[in-house]
């Protein structure tokens, strides 16, 4: 028998106490991992969404910033319009390399003419677009033809059908973009030409027609020239193009960033409280256990155990419970976060992307270290005190 086996026997011999420490370790590790995964997931998602948009500046109608951000991040369709002539004004501003227009549309809700309810649709101009086109060239080898579209990672053709029906128009899904964890994953991308065709057909085939106001666009994506300062260009746009708001890429999704920060603060607060309470509880439990086993530990000393052995045997129990509880907590946290990610996104109102495997391994390691160090720290003082006690005094009633 060795120290580990002895510690395991003691754990089994004090089931209730062991379960409490196990549960504390489980909750601390699980909750901290979940919190970090959610916050990291939200940040990664925002970053990917910005990369996907690819724009230095996105110009939207004045007052529509939050709506557009919500549409892009959460996939909630939005209808905003500004005059098409704004595009020319923006393109003429010094420092602007490309200005590409987009139309924001939506499928109908619970209508038989649309096989997907309230899906966010983004129509782009293939001649000027710089976000979807590069992907198309790489993956499909050609531009989208009339009646074709690409979708975010969660867009798919309904089971048993060959096309997606929108407003009575059959659209062929040619491919799916990689996941961003944002509303862009539930978005369909189609050309201006196809959008106009859908609008035309919808007049006769849809429950309600798709309305695209003439000479209007929803937003303009702007790429600045190399060496130009996006800030100055944005200010220029604001001054020279009335009725619009230019949003620089780093400032995009500010509402959500604040929401994420708020969530982070809330989670850190709860985590700190949980951690402190757990440490106090574990410390109390080990103190109680050390006191109750005072005589037994005195006997071990009488049999030849050193102070170090007694100290290590109590810590070994703490470590075992921390590792086991931490591992279970982490496994449950990973499972729950993976399985309930859609619910998380909807209820928290933030985007979310699952971490990559290397990231996940690092996070898991961090969670285990937290559980281990917390429980070990809590058991340290009781273990030290009891190991220093006079064996003869310890064995007295």
């Amino acid at each position: 028998m060795n120290l580990g086996q002895l510690a395991w026997r003691n754990i089994k011999g004090n089931a209730f106490r062991s379960w409490v420490v196990f549960l504390c370790a489980m909750v601390v590790a699980g909750f901290s991992l979940s919190a970090v995964m959610i916050i990291r997931g939200a940040e990664d998602s925002l970053r990917l969404a910005l990369n996907r948009l690819g724009a230095d500046i996105i110009v939207v109608p004045e007052g529509a910033e939050t709506k557009v951000e919500t549409a892009l991040l959460m996939g909630k369709p939005v209808k905003v319009w500004m005059p098409q002539e704004n595009l020319d004004k923006i393109a003429r501003i010094p420092g602007v390399a490309v200005a590409s227009p987009q139309l924001y549309l939506s499928s109908l809700s619970n209508a038989s003419c649309c096989s997907v309810s309230e899906m966010f649709m983004v129509a782009f101009d293939p001649k000027t677009d710089f976000t979807i086109e590069p992907w198309l060239k790489q993956k499909l080898g050609h531009e989208l033809r009339l009646g074709e579209s690409v979708g975010g990672s969660n867009v798919f053709t309904p089971e048993g059908e060959e096309n997606i029906k929108l407003y009575g128009y059959f659209i062929t899904l040619k491919g799916n973009l990689t996941s961003t964890g944002t509303g862009l994953d539930q978005t369909m991308f189609l050309t201006f030409e196809t959008a106009q065709d859908v609008a035309r057909i919808s007049k006769t085939r849809a429950e309600r027609p798709l309305e695209i106001p003439a000479n209007s666009i929803s937003a303009a994506l702007v790429k600045v020239q190399p060496g130009s300062d996006p800030r100055s260009v944005a200010l220029d746009i604001m001054q020279k193009v009335p009725g619009v708001t230019p949003i620089e890429s780093p400032n995009m999704f500010q509402t959500f960033r604040q929401q994420i920060m708020g969530l982070l603060r809330g989670m850190l607060l709860i985590l700190s409280i949980t951690l402190v309470l757990s440490l106090v509880l574990i410390s109390l439990i080990f103190s109680m256990a050390a006191n109750e086993r005072r005589r037994e530990l005195g006997v071990l000393r009488a049999l030849g155990a050193t102070r170090g052995f007694v100290f290590q045997s109590i810590l070994a129990e703490a470590v075992m419970l921390a590792v086991d509880g931490g591992a279970v907590g982490i496994a449950l946290a990973c499972l729950a976060t993976f399985l309930f990610r859609d619910l998380l996104v909807r209820s928290l109102g933030i985007p979310f992307l699952l971490p990559s495997l290397p990231s996940l391994v690092t996070l898991i390691g961090g969670g285990l270290v937290l559980a281990l160090s917390g429980v070990t720290l809590a058991a340290l003082i009781p273990a030290f005190k009891i190991s220093r006690q006079d064996p003869a005094l310890a064995m007295r009633e």
Partner: protein
């Protein structure tokens, strides 16, 4: 240890049987409209019904696990628990399924809850099987 495992299984069995009744599309007032005008329940509703069929024997599994004192009984019950757990997962994923859209409650709540419950039941059953192997034929 077995009593705790049994209690967890019974609680999860209740979740498996009851939760889908309130999270399938039928309970949200949604149904499939056929061309002849009739409405039929969506497949998540049938999954919910099937899960009742798993929940009831799982309550039995948990109860027997809690009171059993024989190694052989524990082994059989644990095996049965694991098998039922597998079906709890298969019904919403492969055998019947739920609605495809991530918007639907059956997809965002019902399915992940059933999968998680199934995994936990399988894990507990396997752990019970392993631990009972180390016990004597008749244990306290």
């Amino acid at each position: 240890m077995f009593k705790i495992a049994a209690a967890i299984i019974v609680v999860l069995a209740l979740v498996i049987g009851i939760l889908p009744q309130f999270t399938d599309c039928q309970s949200q007032g949604r149904a499939l409209a056929l061309q002849n005008g009739k409405t039929v329940p969506m497949k998540c509703h049938w999954t919910a019904i099937a899960e009742i069929g798993m929940a009831v024997p799982l309550v039995g599994v948990g109860t027997v696990m809690g009171v059993s004192k024989r190694k052989e009984s524990c082994r059989i019950i644990a095996g049965l628990g694991a098998l039922l757990g597998i079906f709890v997962i298969l019904f919403p994923t492969r055998l019947i399924g739920v609605c495809a859209s991530a918007d639907m409650l059956c997809n965002s709540v019902m399915k992940p809850t059933l999968i998680l419950s199934g995994i936990v039941i399988i894990a507990i059953s396997i752990a019970t099987l392993i631990i009972s192997e180390r016990q004597p034929e008749q244990f306290a």
